[in-house]
């Protein structure tokens, strides 16, 4: 609404009129809320059910349709059994270590690279850019076999280095950060350069603080991806006590340990809690849609 064009201040609408409008808006929003709830049920029912099964002390009847969505004789005994039956905290620590190391290395490698690609002129810049673009089109899973051979040759199998290293230099992060650095005003950077700051100083003290939201987005994306990565760690790690949650729990849950579905669901709920917590704390970074895709 273009307020400047209105010459005289409009009369305030009477109260009954405002009330009627609010009522009408609320009624019109009902179908939308119904659709939102319906799809919400579709996304959330597996985990709702898993939580209900995990909380059911009585293991019978967890598959019966409406009843299974409420815990049967609620209690926490399956959660206690999880810690007893599998090295949960060990897996948890491994996941934490792997995800943190991956995130830090990604930031350390990607930020200077993206900064140089967007803010410096050098020979071969466009060629490197096309190269990055092509690797985005090719399924990364095809690299698993050659990377496995590389790690075997370097003697890295069954080590955390082998889990982390192949995931720290991806094209996706460079594209994300390049976008952020291109939005940094050139005058600010030039001012810092004229004041005698080295290029590294300009990046650290001017460009990086200005790109903080996008850096946070990249960090969260990387952390969650590393936390959830199943395939590559499962391929390179052989020793059970080195495995992250996504691999260790999956192996334990589908192996001979899977005696009770309630127990399995309790382990799943425990492993999902940190992810959901991290997501709840950081979702505003990427769900507001501000930084993710910009043209």
């Amino acid at each position: 609404m273009n307020r400047e064009l209105v010459l005289a201040p409009p009369l305030a609408p009477p109260r009954w009129y405002r009330l009627r409008r609010q009522l009408r808006d609320a009624v019109l929003a009902l179908p939308r809320y119904a659709a939102l709830l319906l799809f919400g049920a579709f996304t959330v029912f597996p985990f709702w059910w898993a939580t209900a099964a995990a909380l059911s002390s009585d293991g019978a009847g967890i598959w019966i349709f409406p009843a299974a969505f409420l815990p049967n004789d609620p209690g926490l005994r399956w959660f206690g059994r999880v810690f007893y039956e599998m090295p949960f905290w060990r897996y948890f620590g491994n996941s934490l270590l792997i995800s943190t190391a991956t995130t830090l290395l990604v930031l350390l490698l990607t930020i200077p690279c993206a900064y140089a690609l967007s803010r410096m002129a050098f020979r071969g810049r466009n060629a490197l850019f096309v190269l990055l673009l092509v690797t985005l089109m090719v399924p990364a899973e095809v690299a698993i076999v050659p990377n496995f051979i590389t790690c075997a040759q370097l003697g890295l199998l069954d080590s955390y280095v082998a889990v982390v290293l192949p995931n720290v230099a991806g094209a996706f992060g460079v594209f994300l950060m390049r976008q952020a650095f291109q939005d940094t005003p050139a005058e600010v950077l030039d001012a810092a350069r004229v004041d005698g700051a080295g290029e590294f100083g300009v990046m650290c003290r001017v460009a990086v603080p200005m790109a903080r939201p996008m850096i946070a987005t990249l960090a969260v994306f990387t952390f969650v991806a590393a936390w959830n990565d199943y395939l590559w760690p499962a391929v390179v790690l052989k020793e059970r006590l080195k495995m992250p949650l996504a691999v260790g729990i999956f192996n334990d849950l589908t192996g001979p340990f899977a005696v009770s579905t309630n127990l399995v669901m309790a382990a799943i709920v425990l492993s999902v809690i940190p992810v959901v917590g991290a997501f709840a704390l950081t979702q505003r970074f990427f769900l507001s849609g501000g930084g993710l895709v910009r043209r």
């Binding site: 659709a35 002129a121 690299a143 004229v194 709840a280 769900l287 043209r295």
Partner: protein, 295 residues
């Protein structure tokens, strides 16, 4: 463009760490695959020798690979419902309403949960006597005693995996479309409204052309994701019940058959199909494509 105080060598120092790791773990695998595809490789000794196109001849004759490729192409059918569903969801949550942030977070939740963990829950849901069949029975869609075994039936299992993949990924594309919708300029929309365009016409002639880059990005990503369908299959059915996709075949041949050369050849074929489909999509959804022509 000369910049104050920037030595050209500095740029190479900035990109060197990233591109070193990138070269070893992203670029090298692609080249190595290309080389390996034409050779017999002996993992015990690390020796290899040229065998011409023998692997490709073997693949052309292989009934299992043909079948896996067919399954991957069926998986491609998922791209359309995934895009339509994600775009519909984005339109649904692209409003200012109390609680809308909660629903956005809810729809994104499956994306942040490890595929292996989510699959364990879905295995329970889709069991022969699982929650889903009980649901169908209680609404009288199927009778007692005719419950399908969603993950064990050769006719059904692949589609069950696709449904899981839809559930897991639709939130991801929703966020991308939502970010795109937030950048659609308001003026042409209002102009179209004043000119008497109805909701569908505004969507078709204003919103969709403005979203062209996002649609391109999303269909590209979804196509690659469908072609490389792999983790979903491994964790849900382990390739049983006729759910073997092309990359499951690659993985099986490499790590169980220890035939790395054959796996590389099959991987190369998948890569080429990916690149061909990417080129096709650039034609249809690119700058000069279908969406930009008013239609």
């Amino acid at each position: 463009m000369p910049m104050p105080g920037v030595h050209p060598r500095t740029a190479y120092l900035f990109i060197a760490p990233f591109f070193t790791v990138f070269a070893v773990f992203t670029l090298w695998p692609m080249l190595f695959n290309l080389w390996l595809a034409f050779r017999d490789y002996f993992p015990q000794t690390g020796n290899s020798m040229w065998n011409g196109f023998a692997h490709f001849v073997e693949l052309a004759d292989s009934e299992r690979f043909g079948h896996a490729l067919k399954n991957s192409l069926i998986f491609l059918l998922l791209v359309l419902p995934l895009q339509v569903g994600a775009f519909g969801l984005a339109l649904l949550v692209h409003v200012r309403m109390p609680g809308i942030g909660f629903f956005r977070a809810l729809y994104y939740l499956p994306v942040v949960i490890a595929v292996s963990i989510a699959a364990v829950v879905w295995q329970q849901v889709l069991r022969f006597d699982g929650l889903f069949n009980w649901f169908l029975e209680s609404v009288h869609l199927i009778g007692f005693g005719e419950q399908p075994d969603w993950l064990g039936d050769r006719q059904l299992a692949l589609y069950a995996v696709m449904a899981f993949s839809f559930w897991k990924n639709v939130g991801y594309y929703m966020v991308l479309y939502l970010a795109g919708l937030q950048t659609v300029p308001r003026e042409p929309l209002e102009a179209a409204q004043i000119d008497g365009a109805d909701a569908w016409q505004r969507l078709r002639h204003v919103v969709l052309p403005a979203l062209q880059p996002v649609i391109l990005l999303c269909t590209l990503l979804a196509t690659i994701q469908a072609l490389k369908a792999f983790q979903e299959v491994i964790v849900l059915t382990a390739g049983q019940a006729d759910t073997q996709t092309a990359l499951v075949y690659v993985f099986g041949v490499a790590f169980y058959g220890h035939n790395f050369g054959l796996a590389a050849a099959a991987g190369l074929i998948v890569t080429l199909v990916c690149l061909a489909l990417a080129a096709l999509q650039l034609r249809f959804f690119g700058e000069q494509g279908l969406l930009r022509r008013g239609g």
